[in-house]
Amino acid sequence: MIAEGGLAALWLAAALAALQLVLGIMGVRSGRTDLLAAVRPVAVVQGVLTLIAFVALIWLFVTVDLSVALVAANDASTKPLLYKFAGTWGNHEGSMLMWVTILGVAGGAVAILERRLNERTLIATLAAQAAIGLGFYAFLLFASNPFARLNPAPVEGQGLNPLLQDPGLAFHPPTLYLGYVGLSVAFSFAVGALVTRDVGAAFARAMRPWVLGAWILLTLGITAGSYWAYYELGWGGWWFWDPVENASLMPWLAATALLHSVTVLATREGLRAWTVMLAVVAFSMSMVGTFLVRSGILTSVHAFAVDPKRGTFILALLAIYIGGALALFGLRVGTVREGSRFDAVSREGSLVINNLLLSAILGIVLVGTLYPLIAESVTGEKLSVGPPYFNSAAGPLALILVAVMAAGPVMRWRRDDLKAVARRIALPVLVAALALLAVILLAPGIRILPLLGLVAAAGVGLASLAPLWKRNLRRTPLFIWGMVISHLGIAVSMAGMAAESAFTRETLVATQVGATHKVGPYIVRLDDVQPIAGPNYTAIEATITARRGEGGEPMILKPETRSFPSPQTETNEAAIKTVLDGQLYIVVGKPDDQGRWQLRAWWKPFVTFIWLGGALVAFGGFLAMVGRIRREIRHAPPPEFI
């Protein structure tokens, strides 16, 4: 009954979305207050119903109800509880239901919380939100029903892909989806503002927390995804330019640009049309991301579904939403009032350059990701675009971008003097020059990109602190701290990437038990190899002692090779030890006929900085959000709650 209940809730939610759209359109057209007033409660109830449907699916997974086809295909009674729970969204249908649920709940939250925006614009926003929801409801109900029954029910389920059985991955997709959907709300705000021709600071302030929230979650999701790939796939890499990674990077790039331009609109009334355009682009990118991951046209670690019908469905949705929004934008952009003016050398100017560079990088990633798909559909030739393309095309632009990032925050709004700006960033430039000298002296023969990366990290790291210079630190607003910490996080990440790619040491041997080998500053010894049993797998576990130099403290590492019976798969579990200046990363392979074990060990200096930086970036965003919300509450009249 739970499954039927969930399905019923989903149908009802879809019907309410249709009602919300119709009421919204009629209300905005006629301006009748009774119609306008009806939209908010409908949005709230719609959100509650999606939540009920989602909880029902979680319930089916946790209790392993094998009479439901989706559960039988992706769950197993032997699975640890966390993965039964997370398995709910570790598959196509479940993840789409999660998408719709977050969308519905977000719509409800807008309906309850948003009080600053003009009523008509808000209702138009909710109508746009309902229109997005309708497409996804149709997709779920007609093409990917998560509650479909299976008759007869099997005795045991097929389990979850072992690569996905990892705590990191249990929380990674929800994080990204929350980000995607946050951008859909920003998109709805943009559509709402275009409909009522009300593009201004109030609209930007209403949209900003959603953009900021989406951006924080995307940052966390990308960081976590990168760390997952690093330790779980056992290749020691942290970014593969996999299309699925790009699918989350592209909305992030757009959201980053939007975050900066929305600030200009909210505080300086500038960049009106551009901000609306970016909101459309950002949501388009999360749709493209959903399309790439969910359509089955990609073969990737993360893409589960292989069903052309679904791909066509999402592609159609993509065309309708993006096409519709662009058409509306084209029709209305002429009526968007001119924003405030500013000089080329100004904070606004630097943010425009930031936006252009981010857009250009976004374009490069988009072209590289979609080119193989388009080429195949046009010429029938299958080809793939790899890391060499992305690195060589996006790398230089990213370096210019961080240089702009160093100078931008020390510029004044509206107009500034180039000489004064130069004086303000003289110290960071000097530090970067010293870093250049130091790296060339200490690490001769370093490749150009890591070299520039280290130098830029030093300069940007210092420059990011510049806005705090001569300020009373305790009275500095939180959102300034947020900006400073986020920018510092970028520098920290960049330092990690550069150090990892320049100074990693690798040792690859076939070793006997008891033999020692050197990797970077460490001496590793294979002590023992034993079979062990896990909750739903068996494994070979090696015990390895690592010492830093001859007299160093011993560290024990235990890499495993796991065999899962259902579905039958083997995975390598790397053993990773984190120390202050880096990570020791060890993978054990198969034995050979002479009783030797393959052992691959990496010493990766400062590699943790990559994700530490990502976490800092997100934390900065969080501080900014708290700061903005506090300020709003302090300055706004007390809300009249429904």
């Binding site: 003016r341 041997v509 798969t569 002479q594």
Partner: protein
Amino acid sequence: MKAKNQRLILAGLAIVAIIGAALLAMSALKDQAAYFYTPTDAKRDHVETGRAVRLGGMVQGGSIKREADGVTIRFIVTDNVETIPVTFKGIVPDLFKENSGVVAEGKFQPDGSFVADNILAKHDERYMPPQVAGEMHKTESLKK
């Protein structure tokens, strides 16, 4: 500066940036688009040596040989038309086996062989790189 001019300048800058990005992307794509090769493509296109590419196909039955050092393996990648000998130093993925799909990342050597620095095997039994699947299908249907 007049407001109108500023808008024009911004629009101009945006167009320049987009064209610049497109040019960068196109030139990089021209070099790198053919990133994935089947043995047949590789023989036909004479891939320049030293460029990082992917080679995909099936591991030929009975072709895997292990060197004495325990970490170097040699095997042959085939698409049932052409074959390329591959050398790889490292731990092969768990699903790397004979008569099974494989993608090797690495460089072609002057003698026509391939040195891989990474082996990507399928992640589960259903996975096959689309290019390999397509090429296999083509050759299978040619034989009939």
